[in-house]
């Protein structure tokens, strides 16, 4: 975990920036050879995770620090992958309390954790050492047909 990530974004907990991070994640997964759908899933999972940190962790404060670190997994002919580590300095909660809502449960809102867990291969919440939470996401897929690293060349 102490190795340097290929990419790191630090942002304040302002929902205005969510779209930019989502577009970034789409671009990164494309660069790593993900096909469209799983790439969008990674972007959506990160979006939901950041939204939850802003809403539940920082309780809509706009200036809380959040970091998103991206580690490409070793690539093979049959597999590409990504590990994403999201850290905040917001209030700490019991990781067991962060549960996806059962879809049969009739309350408005909240699909975030459900989507994160359904779409990622691994999604692990932890308390950080000093303060704040850490979420580690992992996703591995078969590479897309066109595995070149550019949007439009």
């Amino acid at each position: 975990m102490s190795d340097t990530p290929d990419l790191r974004i630090d942002l304040v907990s302002n929902p205005c920036y969510l779209c930019a991070v989502r577009e970034f994640m789409v671009g990164v997964t494309r660069a790593l050879g993900f096909p469209e759908t799983p790439g969008s899933q990674v972007a959506l999972a990160v979006d939901e995770a950041l939204t939850n940190i802003m809403k539940h962790g920082y309780e809509r404060r706009l200036d809380g620090p959040i970091s998103v670190r991206v580690y490409p997994l070793a690539q093979t002919d049959t597999q590409v992958g990504i590990r994403i580590v999201i850290e905040d300095e917001a209030r700490q909660v019991d990781p067991a309390a962060i549960r996806g809502r059962d879809l049969a449960d009739i309350r408005p809102g909240g699909l975030g954790v459900h989507i994160i867990r359904e779409t990622m291969d691994e999604a692990v919440y932890e308390r950080r050492e000093a303060r704040g939470m850490r979420l580690t996401l992992v996703k591995r897929v078969a590479p897309g047909v066109r595995n070149n690293c550019c949007c439009e060349g």
Partner: protein
């Protein structure tokens, strides 16, 4: 935010008691509450089936999905079937991305939605 167009949701009722909701426009954070409200009106105790026709929805974000999941929950509680139809490629992709396509009954068009 001044020029956001509010979501329009057309509600129609068939003689057999099917209620069809036809929202038109993108459904995101700002539009989802309108859909939620329309869903609550559709499950009014008399509906025998609720159809949500998404053919007028070019794009939907997670808040829109959440409103549909809520509709599904009410449908299960009230035992009134819920059927979605008219999904564009982009909207279908959103369901697939969120891995929610298998929890809904999704058919091609309103005709099929009446007979499923």
């Amino acid at each position: 935010m001044a020029d956001r167009i509010p979501l329009a949701v057309k509600i129609s009722r068939s003689q057999e008691g099917a209620v069809t909701l036809a929202p038109s426009g993108d459904i995101g954070y700002h539009e989802a509450p309108t859909l939620q409200q329309a869903v609550r009106e559709a499950f009014d105790g008399k509906a025998r089936r609720v159809v949500i026709d998404l053919s007028g929805v070019p794009y939907m974000a997670t808040p829109g999905l959440a409103a549909l999941v809520q509709a599904l929950q009410i449908s299960k509680r009230d035992r009134v079937p819920l059927v979605l139809c008219g999904l564009s490629e982009r909207v279908r992709a959103v369901f697939e991305i969120a891995k929610l396509h298998s929890v809904f009954t999704i058919v091609a068009d309103p005709g099929a939605a009446m007979s499923t």
